[in-house]
Amino acid sequence: MLHNKSFVKKTKGGKVMKQVREHYLRDDIYCGTPSCTVCDSSGARLSDSASTILVVDTNVVLNQIDLLENSAIDDVVVLSIVLEEVKNKNMSVYNRLRAICSNSNRKFFVFSNEYHRDTYVKEMSGETKNDRNDRAIRVAAQWYQKHLGGAVKVLLVTNDKENKRKASEEGICAETVESYVKSLDRPDLLDLLVRPSSEDAEMEDVEDHRPSKRKVIYSEHKPMSEITSGLHRGIYHQGKLRVNRYNPFEAYVGSESIGDEIIIYGRSNMNRAFDGDIVAVELLPEDQWQGEKSLSIVGEEDEDEDEDVHLAPNSADDAPRTTPQQGSTGVTNAGSSRPSGRIVGIIKRNWHSYCGSLEPMPMPGGSRGVAYALFVSKDRRFPKIRIQTRQLENLLDKRIMVSVDSWDRQSRYPSGHYVRTIGEIGDRDTESEVVLIENDINSRPFSAQVLACLPPLPWSVSSEDLSIPFRQDLRHLRVFSVDPPGCKDIDDALHCYALPNGNFEVGVHIADVTNFVFPGTPLDDEASQRGTSVYLVERRIDMLPKPLTEDVCSLRSDVERLAFSVIWEMTPEADIISTRYTKSVIKSAAALSYVEAQARMDDSRLMDPVTTDLRNMNSLAKKMRLRRIERGALTLASAEVKFQIDTETHDPLDIGMYQIREANQMVEEFMLAANVSVAQQILKSFPLCSLLRRHPTPTKEMLEPLLRVSAAIGLNLDVSSSKALADSLDLAVGGDPYFNKLIRILATRCMSQAVYFCSGDLSPPEYHHYGLATPLYTHFTSPIRRYADVIVHRLLAASIGISKLPSVFQDRLQLTSIADNLNYRHRNAQMAGRASVELHTLIYFRKRPTDTEARIVKIRSNGFFVFVPKYGIEGPVYLTTRAEKGSGEWYVDEQEQKIKKMDGSLSYSILQTVQIHMEVVEPQPNRPKLQLTLI
């Protein structure tokens, strides 16, 4: 049956046009119940014996998605009109709903009511779109009831009063979510319910719990029409809000329209916006532009917020953001302050679920009653969230997840609802889980579909693999691998032979992951989503299933494995004469650890072939490294720490700095060379769709903190180029051995991180990798643990003509989105790794209060930040207590980066060594933190 839809639409140019679309109504859309005699039940999803089938309204989906995700709710019919409405209103809820619908364990059925002959409804004159859609839902519910007859009850779940009333009039069973959930008799589900907004009359009693009853705290958000016209006229600016990780009262909006970041101070100026929201900002008058207010370490509002001890940041992206500080005692200098603004409206919310715990509170009298509690997110960027719960006693000492529902003008905090419990606070597994959730890392086991893509196990190289013409047999070569001790996912191996003409043949062999992971398979999709393996202190979350990472792909010793090899001919001066790429079969002769390899090289008595190869390679690597440094590659330093974990309790036994040996540098050098060679090769073949990695040159502003520090201690750093910086870093040798490393750590912190990108998106000069001082770079050498390398393997295979280029590469947009996802996952994996180290540091010091040496790295008005080299952590040391904050006993000398006592008796300057005491304290129950005090 054919039917034409016609509607009017406003075009971009502002013209109003009539659009006519065909709309085919069908009779082959089935109801999805397996017992139905009329319909084809092959695609049925609902359960056989369901006594009730739920038809959900759009508002239920939008507000109660957490409830729908709970497996207690099943046999749900999702109408296509509901899906469409949800899609228009909230894309993330739509994606979640789609995920439930496609999950084969859940009994959710999508009924395309809009295309069904009997359930399509035509808009009546004078009827609004919304009313029409509500009617469509009712018609579909009615159809279901008639279609299934009396055996099954069809229940329309709606929170729209009008819809419910009309449904009852038309003889459809309808209930609100609340009454439906109550009828299930599951109190835990009730917590998942979103409370109706506080304007609702029946919830009035809730307000009594609030101290600020009916007081308007925030200014109103402007209506969308006003925001649009304001943006158009240039009085408002649009951008994504980013809250300072270290000070939740300070946020930034990167605005394209003024080409600068707008700073937003304080919760009232932030006006209920969350981190990640797209907001409209109005600039404050220039005389209200504040200079740097966050001179002190502590947040300025009346909440208990203070700095925790953190791992030392590794790059500018993780470091707390500081703008140049003015004046010594808060004299603001209007000329150099940055634009400040306030938020007038929120264009797009970025609400999701947050991990944290409830603020400790006394138990209310009635134990079974409803209690209101404040939830404190673990991530300090988010405000506290008010939730309602019936199981307060269970939740108080738990880590829980909470999602935000609304934030009205009268409440200081947003209101939300409980989603699920993760575990007990302080428990290592719980806290690790929190780390994973906070960083959006999927640690679920691999699904059956993914595991079905694995090759049959036990796997070994077959004659088929050998007979493929492009796969070269390199089993006769003496290949070996050098990795950290205990490494199971060995993805690289090396060989080095002296050629008769005096040159060397050097080969880098990388696990041939793409021989097992084919594009478009569930395995590939999963890997592409995960993006990278995540290394926590006590566990590893793999990107690929374990049989692949630890066995089939891992280049273990004495077994034949498939590899993708890069083979160079090099002169003894380490100049590359020729490069060859081939898929191969290798048999590793030895899997060495860095320590072993180093010991072999150092032991002059050993003359066995592997050791000779190692020495040859090391001398080549040294030359390559020297050349790279001459080109201006930076030797950056980070304070990586290493734990010794008790094998039984998994508690940390010892921490120390990660030691870097020559053998590490040797392997690194060849990996870098392989990556560079591969980058050149793939870019030559696919100039528009290669996946490369770049490291942007830091701007002057980014290096500002480093320059201020170096000026204060009388060190002259030249930052005009990476070469100049590298040279002046080499010259920066202070009185003690750690000085140079400290300066390097500070320098590293000023730089942004390297990112993946699609070569078609940028122009060739932008491909530059600043840190490595190479015009091209990519990742090729770790396909077992990074998805970027898998992509690069496919590109390389296509460029040497042994396989076809998968279709993803035809679509630049898709490739860009893959690169973005990889960057996101990569960053999250790093954050998770750091958070895990922080967690274990805390566990370690819980039983071991320690006195140690620390270096001052940042001066604040009431104290300073110290860096503890031995443990790689950084944290605040207060000179004044909170009570006497700002009493003026201390003042900061900005020029010399010193904090002095007023009477001049005592002063601390930057990079000075101080003795500190480290101890875990619990200012509040269940909230341990590491405290540093001066001794």
């Binding site: 054919l2 034409n4 013209k15 046009m17 009539k18 659009q19 006519v20 679309r21 065909e22 709309h23 085919y24 109504l25 069908r26 296509s80 789609r98 619908c101 496609s102 999508v110 395309s112 809009e114 295309y115 076809k804 279709s807 035809q810």
Partner: protein
């Protein structure tokens, strides 16, 4: 954007392998020697054929075969916004050429030397797939005019969106910017006379999509044959024999 829902329905309610509703009518322009209206969903095209007749411009006359000319145009009201379209813009010249070459291939031009055949096609309503619709209309009009042909030429388009081959793209799907293949075939001879593609597509998928378009062409050919048969029967009936 999602052009095919996980339930397997397209934006207009069709399934990927389904064509839009087609309708054809012969004899829409009584002055012409042959004419037809052809509709594919909301795309509506009218074609009129004049000839074989004397060549108007003597210098173009061919001594061994007939001269085939084709003019394609879009009515001002054919799209949503009513605007004056300049004649002979790049797009219409291209489509005119495509239609002419396709039709020339099936007309037995060597039977009619020193004569001229004019094909005029005009789009009355455009909703994607106008090229195919024009070719189908022209075939019907040529048949109506009684011009000797090797076979009918029919055409259909197919595309590839959301990793699914789609038959007979409408305007919304057409403007998605994905690959879009127009195929013209001689159904009885099983030969391809027209193959055009926008954007790019891996070769193995191209084969699938092209196969789908060819199936579409065959379905259209069956329908056209039915219409012609019906028309002939009616003519027969009118003659009263």
């Amino acid at each position: 954007m999602e052009y095919v829902s996980p339930e397997g329905l397209r934006l207009d309610g069709r399934r990927p392998m389904e064509m839009r509703q087609i309708r054809a009518e012969i004899g829409a322009v009584s002055k012409a020697d042959g004419s037809a209206v052809f509709e594919m969903g909301n795309t509506k095209v009218i074609a009129a054929v004049y000839g074989p007749r004397e060549v108007q411009n003597r210098s173009q006359q061919l001594s061994d075969q007939a001269l085939v000319r084709c003019e394609y145009s879009m009515a001002n009201f054919s799209t949503g916004d009513r605007m004056r379209k300049p004649k002979g813009d790049r797009r219409s010249i291209e489509i005119s050429l495509v239609i002419r070459q396709t039709m020339e291939e099936c007309i037995l031009t060597h039977l009619m030397p020193r004569s001229q055949i004019d094909i005029y096609v005009q789009v009355l309503q455009a909703d994607g797939g106008t090229r195919s619709a024009c070719i189908n209309a022209a075939t019907l009009a040529l048949a109506d005019a009684g011009i000797p042909m090797r076979d009918l030429v029919t055409s259909c388009s197919a595309g590839y969106l959301n990793s699914t081959p789609l038959l007979d793209l409408n305007y919304v799907e057409d403007s998605a910017g994905g690959p879009d293949i127009t195929v013209g075939i001689l159904p009885k001879l099983d030969k391809v006379t027209l193959l055009q593609m926008d954007s790019k597509l891996p070769i193995d998928i191209l084969e699938n999509v092209m196969q789908l378009a060819t199936e579409g062409c065959k379905a259209i050919a069956n329908y056209i044959r039915e219409i012609l048969l019906e028309n002939t029967k009616e003519l027969e009936y009118r003659r009263g024999s």
